[in-house]
Amino acid sequence: MKEKVLSIINQIRAAKGLEAIPTLNLSDSLRDDLGFTSFDLAELTVRIEDEFDIDIFEDGLVNTVGEICAKLSK
């Protein structure tokens, strides 16, 4: 699951012209550390929903990579 999340994050970063991150850091903030804007976060929700069938932002925003993984492993 983590590999898939990593590849989704890097796919979004690639479209923004940012370099890929080598590993998932659970404490990384999506907005502050990964540089995601609202449009990037929206894209992240769609891609994760396509893959895992879960809307990670449905009940309020998630801030960190760790929070995404927690939602997906429930």
Binding site: Q11, A14, A15, S29, R31, D32, G35, T37, S38, F39, L41, A42, E43, T45, V46, R47, D50, D55, F57, E58, G60, L61, N63
Partner: protein, 407 residues
Amino acid sequence: MTKNFLVDKGNIYTYTDLLIAISADNQYFPYYQTHNLFDFFVNLVKALSSSKDIVLLDADMNPSEFYALDGDIDFSKKMPAYTTPFSSLSELVDNLRNSSSRLTIFTSGTTGQPKKVVHNLGTLTRSVRIGEKYINNIWAYAYNPTHMAGLQVFFQAFENVNMLVNVFNQPRKDVYTQIERYGITHISATPTFYRLLLPLEKTFPSVQRITLGGEKSDAHLCEILRQIFPLSKINNVYASTEAGSLFAAKGDCFQFPEKMQDKFKVVDDELLIHRSLLGESANFQFDGDYYHSGDLIDWVDKEKGLFRFRSRKNELINVGGYKVNPSEVEGALLRIEGVQQALVYGKSNSVLGNILCADVKLEQGSNLSELDIRKSLLGQLQDFKVPRRIKFVETLSLTHTGKLRRV
């Protein structure tokens, strides 16, 4: 002591800085594209205070998006603005208030390319309030300065000589840092902007007023905003590129202002706006004296003129407060070599309200990737118009009239 005018990317500009920059050169750019907000405002105020016409272009607009509108646009062209320099800030402000400039902005239009709308200062500053009680307001600037909402906030702040703090597209922690550092009292932004400030971690008592506009708001969001900004009043506004600011909300409903009752009609649940409230555009289609806004409403109390917005009638897709015309994006997709057919649609999304998606059928033998297509679109379109998910399909379904079917 001179008041601060603008904080942007760590730089503080005072109103004296603004006056000096305007006085340095009496020429202005009628067409001007810049990422520098201070330079943008210098050029804008110089033009308006001198009653000169100006066209506002987004910093990320591509040539193909506006060349189709006006033929060749010469960005290096400068024109004389004022003849006598402004002697004081108050002269600058007074001149802007009484300006006879015509200001052109762009709207997504309902077909094809973006369309021009020409406004005079009257329409743009209709909702500006000036007076003693506003002089200490400090604004978070959370909109694109070339769009209607950004202009509304700018005029409200500038005419009261308030400070603007640019928070547009900034990370959450920077927004909060600036609210505290500068004691921001007023924030006007889209629901998408506010959603990014969630969740509640700390409260910010300096904020007195929270305004939401540009897209559908929701009760859950307002409830959390009330906790983050415990001393603020929260309200919604309805403004459009075509007509400027029209009405503010009562709770989660909107109400026609008493003085303007006869300027609105509702036909088949669609809001119609009287032509006297609009800017000018060759593309407005009128029904008698009324313009079809494309916004559908539900009555809450028809007698009192209370209503809620339901959805859009036409095909424009509201993506985080930006309206996207799918046929414009489809046109751009079809210009990419290797793309045979394309369908652009909105998919409901918990962050942006809607996210832009595209289904694309490639020509045989083409090996374009999603990333190739997005990069190519970014060379043609503004970022918010680029689909965030592109699916490759074998066939696109057609309606019985042979049009592509939107989902």
